[in-house]
Symmetry: C2
Subunit: 245 residues, 2 copies
């Protein structure tokens, strides 16, 4: 079992695969090439051919697509323990851009190292396939949110998902979590205007459910928020214990 001294990625994958000492060591070795990136400057551009992925150790990143008319759709956020650009390495081109929201620390993983690791430690390949499946399940939830949920439920669902993701890597508590996202990030994620985002957050606060202010999300009525969002965390698969023993 991974302990707090391990990287966030190791903690996350350990939720799915009971990693051996050898596998733990291989995973930690993938973190050797440490890099720092400053907030607000793209790490990877849409359309760039991808030679490397990154494992996020600290900080938050957003991945987004720009349309030709200049509008931006944020596809997802990455928090510690998440891969950036794993899909881009496998598909050999980045279908989106990555921008650090705060200064971040990440490990660079070359495509060849990644493919070599998969070949030598197949249980790690399976664990990373699990993580990719979980990421896909989140994008599906965002798709359903934009397609079919009203603005309040969409926001509530998004905040609950973030809480669960952070909890898996030991960040935040059941009271809330620190969150560097602005109203513009929320707007471009949820398909709302910034003004609408503010209105929704005010409603959620005045209903006594949740407050998002000064970089902090605070839950007042977790159960009520879950009900509003129809939030079922099964797609995040983080309570059942390892599938691969």
């Amino acid at each position: 079992m991974a302990s707090a001294e391990h990287s966030p990625l190791t903690r996350k994958l350990s939720a799915f695969v009971a990693l051996s000492e050898v596998e733990l060591a291989v995973l930690e070795r993938l973190h050797q090439r440490r890099r720092s990136f400053v907030a607000g400057r793209d790490m990877v551009h849409q359309g760039q051919s991808a030679q490397a992925a990154y494992i996020l150790s600290s900080g938050w990143v957003c991945s987004y697509k720009l349309q030709a008319d200049g509008t931006r759709q944020i596809v997802d956020f990455q928090v510690p323990g998440d891969f950036l650009g794993l899909r881009s390495v496998l598909l050999r081109t980045s279908d989106h851009s990555f921008e650090p929201i705060v200064d971040i620390e990440a490990a660079e993983v070359l495509a060849s190292d990644l493919l070599g690791t998969f070949a030598r430690t197949p249980r790690l390949a399976t664990a990373i396939l699990w993580a990719a499946s979980r990421d896909e399940a989140m994008v599906v939830e965002h798709l359903v949110g934009i397609g079919r949920r009203d603005a309040d439920a969409r926001m509530a669902h998004f905040l609950l998902e973030l809480k669960s993701r952070l909890a898996l890597v030991g960040i935040g508590s059941k009271e809330g979590f620190d969150c560097p996202l602005t109203q513009y990030h929320l707007a471009d994620t949820l398909g709302l205007s910034a003004v609408h985002v503010n209105r929704v957050l005010r409603q959620l606060r005045e209903s006594g459910l949740v407050t998002f202010r000064d970089g902090r999300v605070t839950f007042h009525d977790y159960g009520g928020l879950v009900e509003l969002a129809e939030f079922d965390p099964a797609y995040l698969d983080q309570t059942a214990g390892p599938l691969l023993k």
Copy 2:
């Protein structure tokens, strides 16, 4: 290299991994448990715990989520060579339902067989991770489509994506393809009403770009459609040749 006598899944994965004779044999053995399902009856229900995935051999399937208010968001369609419920097996619960659109043939793959295959043939695990990444890239495109593209471009992008996916498994031609989807499928996929879908299809036809009628999509001006949709097939990664030699 996989030939036409191989399954559609083998043809698809061969676009990414140059599979050995042993790997080809293992992949074909995953197809042993053949099953038939009739159109219109759910194969897997949202929330069902998932013991098996399916590999689609022939026919079309849609995967969707129902909201509590009864509205349906179609997340994706599966065509021959696609996995159904791979994510559900890994996440141990199905986050959506699967419904065959026509009568279909599929191979049932038990979770244990799948995990065993990954452990013994890691290059197949990598190839399936590639396929999962490609599926995720498609969901991202749908998210961007619903969030940011206008209805004409959304429809055009969707039809072009389907054409590319089918071409990879040897179905259809550059003139067009057979397509069993109804206006209701299109509406629930693209976040439009059925009336709006009809209007969009009429506009595309009258602009001389594409016709979708009587179960057949026919391209009249492929280049014009690509331009309207801003369609860049890079995210489907099917022209560069195998990454894993």
